[in-house]
């Protein structure tokens, strides 16, 4: 999670901590053409978080997630010269990631795994301002693939 501070002369990108976050997977029902929640929750009201791991679907080309943010943003009020605190309570955004899936053979002992290549990411903008793909290749190695900006 990142936050951008921009003035007339400078633009600063800084890592951002979210007070609490809840992430659930959304499965798509082709018959009803609707998304519904997965049974298990990926992050359940996890506190003070700067990064999340999202599992991409191994056998489908789209993975969808609902992310609920609870956060606050402190800004300096130029009129009163005091800090203003903006609260973001239960702000929900939906991330839809489209990706390619490829089999990767590891060894006889470990078998095979799926690796992914991110094509595009769509998001709503209730809390999230924008998203940047930094590394399209997704494997089980701990590497940052996308940056979420507020």
């Amino acid at each position: 999670m990142y936050h951008v501070t921009q003035t007339d002369t400078s633009r600063t990108v800084a890592s951002m901590s979210i007070d609490s976050i809840t992430v659930r997977g959304l499965k798509y029902d082709a018959a009803t053409k609707k998304y519904s929640y997965m049974d298990s929750v990926l992050y359940n009201n996890l506190k003070t978080i700067t990064k999340i791991d999202l599992p991409l679907h191994s056998f489908e080309l789209t993975s969808a997630f609902e992310v609920t943010f609870n956060s606050k943003k402190i800004t300096t009020n130029t009129v009163t010269s005091k800090n203003d605190t903006i609260l973001y309570l239960n702000k929900r955004d939906t991330l839809i990631v489209t990706h390619q899936n490829t089999d990767k053979y590891l060894s006889l002992q470990c078998g095979s795994v799926k690796v992914h290549s991110i094509d595009t990411i769509l998001t709503t903008n209730n809390f999230i301002d924008s998203i940047r793909i930094t590394n399209r290749k997704v494997s089980n190695i701990n590497v940052e693939n996308i940056q979420i900006y507020k």
Partner: protein
């Protein structure tokens, strides 16, 4: 006068011995050895079929210095992991190489048949293999997919650096060991399906393999070589009577009187 004759006999004997020593030259071709490896055969029996290898070799002897070798065999594996993933392969393999005998033969001594060898091999095996029961399970989204890796055809080439000894335990019967370091020439790209076992190379763990062979072999001497060996011995027996006077104690003073 007698003194001079003894000295003359001595120099004559030395000259003859020298001539004989010079005539025992190492021929260009010294026959060939057929060998079988005992360690691979024994380990095949003890591994209960997980891996097995049977190999032999044919090695020629040139000048007792250069020993080109053709190694060949049959090997395979039938492995099952704890997760029930199976690997099966078997094939013929071959290796071609050259050994150098590091024992230098001295001209004035009888050449030894024992060998201290260093050399190299180029090995190759073309085979098909199967990897069974590989599946991918998605723990979060659900679902499972079996991935068949059936009848994958591949050719593997590797090189080996070898060192070893051969000792003639009985006439023309040789025993000895060889230590070898094996490295694949072409490695598979990351993520590609790779065979767990390569016939002739061994277990493919991505690094160099080391192996040891203990061989027993029979050397076929060529008929003309045997004849030349007999001929070369004859002058030695003729020399003996000439050398006899030297061994007897003589009183030189009496002879000069």
């Amino acid at each position: 006068m007698a003194v001079y004759s003894v000295q003359a006999q001595k120099t004559k004997t030395e000259a003859k011995t020298k001539i004989v020593a010079d005539t025992i030259k190492t021929p260009l071709f010294n026959g060939f050895t057929v060998q079988g490896d005992l360690i691979s055969a024994i380990s095949s029996l003890t591994s209960k079929g997980e891996t097995y290898s049977y190999e032999g070799s044919l090695q020629a002897d040139f000048k007792h210095k250069y020993l080109p070798v053709l190694e060949f065999g049959y090997a395979g594996a039938d492995k099952l992991t704890s997760d029930n993933i199976g690997f099966k392969a078997n094939a013929l393999f071959g290796r071609l190489g050259l050994d150098f005998n590091m024992i230098s033969q001295k001209k004035d001594k009888k050449p030894t048949n024992n060998l201290f060898l260093v050399g190299f091999r180029l090995g190759m095996s073309k085979f098909n293999y199967n990897i069974t029961n590989v599946s991918i399970t998605d723990d979060y989204w659900g679902g499972s997919q079996a991935i068949p890796y059936n009848n994958i055809s591949t050719t593997k080439v590797w090189y080996e650096l070898v060192a070893g000894i051969r000792v003639e335990v009985i006439k023309d019967i040789f025993m000895g060991w060889t230590v070898r370091s094996k490295s694949l020439i072409s490695k598979d790209a990351d993520g590609n399906v790779t065979p767990w076992y390569i016939p002739g190379f061994g277990i493919n763990n991505g690094n160099a393999n080391t192996a040891i062979n203990y061989t027993i072999g029979y050397k076929f001497q060529l008929p003309f070589k045997r004849k030349t060996a007999v001929k070369a011995k004859k002058p030695n027996t003729e020399i003996k009577p000439d050398t006899k006077p030297d061994t007897k104690p003589r009183n030189n003073n009496q002879q000069t009187k």
